[in-house]
């Protein structure tokens, strides 16, 4: 156990800091002035698309978890925006790298990294939530094409996206997990309708997407026909890990402490209320646990279970941090939308609701507990039932 940096890593950190200092004028308030230029600058210097081969538009470095962490920390320190995110970069690109054809890699990865193409994800369906594999969107063969019909839900960037990566049932007679293909197509293809889905926060964070005989070449399948379930699952795991990011939680706890120091009721600071302060300390212990747990998962081979609990614990913790903020604000905590008394633009209430959504989305808490008990603790799977 040694958390000090080697001389090599110390030098690397200095290098990142120097880069950030030199380019501090290119962003403001945590956002780049020119997003595409900033993205190019980051890729060129290895601070975005770091481990993606140069041939496909990345920087081509060896994977190094510690360097990634150093980069992350230095960017937070400098309040500098990271490279572009989005489902294309975080989910499609790793998938293509793993199972895409040479042509698919060459064609899609570069433009996606450079922010020229925005993607959305077509996995979930209204009838299949936790039971993702039960998807019904069908792709019927028609010569060299498929005709795709059905609908998808929780498609977050569908309104902006030029392209979609989508799971469709290409082999209706195959078993549940084996008849699915992972396929790419433009959102401008005729037969696609996008309907925004307003969430409880009041914003349309998600969409429904409806397909009617959408014509897509068979060549757009990634990873082989009928292999879509397995292709998708690799990156789903990745997504679940992201959902409990302890750095974000730590930042929120910091804001909460500031809030409690600043706010008063009848002239008494909230932080001086022992009941709220005790709850704050309970949450702080949890935030630190998740932070060190995250540190551990990066460098400890025995941390399988530690990795598996991140989504469940991290999302719950975010929700609890927001709950304490609302409670600490008292009546001010119910304000929302706008108005002179509103705090933090209503973000505490928004997070309280949005984080509950994250507890449910990306594998509900119940599904997470199934996974932890079955894969983590080796307990029996849900037995098959006699009759549905």
């Amino acid at each position: 156990m040694d958390l000090t940096l080697t001389p090599e890593l110390t030098a690397f950190r200095d290098e990142v800091r120097a880069f950030l200092a030199a380019h501090a004028d290119q962003h403001e308030g945590g956002a780049p002035k020119d997003p595409k230029a900033w993205q190019k600058l980051l890729i060129d210097n290895g601070y975005a698309a770091r481990t993606i081969p140069k041939a496909y538009g990345g920087y081509g470095a060896e994977p190094d978890i510690l360097k990634s962490r150093i980069i992350a920390e230095a960017f937070i320190e400098a309040n500098a925006p990271r490279g572009m995110a989005g489902q294309g970069i975080s989910m499609l690109v790793p998938t293509l790298l793993e199972v895409g054809s040479e042509e698919q890699k060459t064609r899609w990865i570069g433009p996606t990294l450079r922010g020229e193409i925005i993607w959305c994800q077509g996995y979930s369906e209204p009838g299949a939530g936790s039971d993702l594999a039960n998807l019904q969107t069908k792709a019927v063969e028609d010569g060299d094409d498929f005709l795709i019909s059905g609908s998808k839900i929780w498609t977050s960037t569908a309104m902006q996206a030029q392209m979609i990566f989508c799971l469709v049932r290409t082999e209706p007679k195959a078993a549940k997990h084996e008849g699915i293909s992972y396929i790419l197509f433009p959102m401008s293809t005729p037969g696609i309708e996008v309907r925004p889905l307003k969430s409880m926060t009041g914003q349309a964070e998600f969409n429904e997407v409806f397909f009617t005989d959408v014509r897509v070449p068979k060549a757009n399948v990634v990873g082989g026909r009928g292999r879509g379930w397995f292709v998708a699952n690799t990156t789903l795991k990745h997504e679940r890990g992201m959902l409990g990011d302890p750095n974000a939680t730590e930042a929120r706890l910091k804001s909460l402490i500031e809030l409690m120091r600043r706010e008063t009721v009848d002239g008494q600071r909230i932080i001086d209320n022992p009941i709220f302060r005790d709850r704050l300390m309970q949450l702080q212990a949890r935030v630190l646990s998740m932070k060190f747990n995250g540190l551990r998962t990066m460098t400890d081979d025995t941390a399988g279970l530690a990795r598996m609990v991140v989504k469940l614990q991290g999302c719950e913790l975010n929700h609890q941090v927001a709950a304490l903020a609302i409670d600490a604000l008292g009546e001010l905590g119910i304000l929302y939308h706008d108005g002179p008394h509103l705090r933090a633009k209503g973000n505490w209430q928004r997070n309280y609701m949005f984080d509950l959504g994250l507890i449910i989305g990306g594998g509900t808490a119940q599904i997470q507990k199934n996974i932890i008990s079955e894969r983590g603790l080796g307990m029996p799977r849900e037995p098959k039932v006699v009759e549905a």
Binding site: S130, L197, V265, I326, E331, G333, Y336, L356
Partner: protein, 357 residues
Amino acid sequence: MRFALSEDQTLLQDSLSRTLADLSPLERVRRFADENQAAAPDIWAGLSELGLPGLLVPEEYGGLGLGLVEAALAAEALGRVVAPTPFLGSAVLAPLALMLAGTDEQKSRWLPKLASGEAIAGVAISEPIAGARENAGVAAANGRVTGTALFALDTAGADLLIVADRTGGLHLTQLAHSAEPMPSIDATRPLCQLTFSDTPAEPLASNQALERLRDAAWVMLAADTLGAAQSMLDKAVAYAKERKQFGRTIGSFQAVKHLCAEMAAELEPARALVWYAAYAFDKAPDEAPLMAAHAKAHLSEIGRFVARTSTEVHGGIGMTDLLGLHYWFKRIGQNRQLLGGPERVRETAARLQGLIA
């Protein structure tokens, strides 16, 4: 001795529920919220036909002359359908303030109009109960009030306002210098900021009136949460029986069943607490403040649990606007903080028992 609803009380609740199903279905609530309506005179007019505004008003002033138990049943029914009405301010707190502290003239002037639904009353008592934020608070002198009152209830189209000053004294005024909306999570009960500047106001003379208003308000908010939470449990159970995943209704999974059982196990005894708190307000005044505090705080806590758990049982769809489940979630959330969050209310509960040095 009987600790159960009487036949009359059951009838009241049933007829109210039936009427509300017509007057305030989800589509109506949605329209109210989406259009940021400040009041729903259609709903209040319909409820006025049942006599709801005059529930607590003595018969001599044209009301039904019922007690807080009946008011709690009404609040529960309103919470069940998240109805947008000025019930708390106009039918409970303002009539109580007048009955407790009004002169005969004030009563004669206002109670009949409130009872018929012809007049609406707003109420601004947040500062002396929940604590002052942003240096708000109202000062009173020589029949005039000056200052700011936040979180004022049911002020939309109000013909009179009941305002508490910083020392807990109550005042009746027909004019506010200005009324600014305070947009909150629960669009079904709009809140306002009132600013007074040397505004004429009639004092309502009574030492304990504010405490009684507080107790009544706490019981009403608890009952509203009870109704809203019961709805959320009912909706979760219905959804779980219908929704299929992995080839089974999700309601056959033990995890989902147990979540529903936990909601029921929390709610059912809480119902008895709300009933008793209302009963004590009417019949056992010594116990009333403590029971009101416990009802408010406890329903806030289990309301939060039910709101969250029911949403979880609904899965992703519970997070969207499609089923409108969030109206209940937010109503419960707003009840939790209005007129004091549970921590503050429990402090009062401890103080009432001499447990604070």
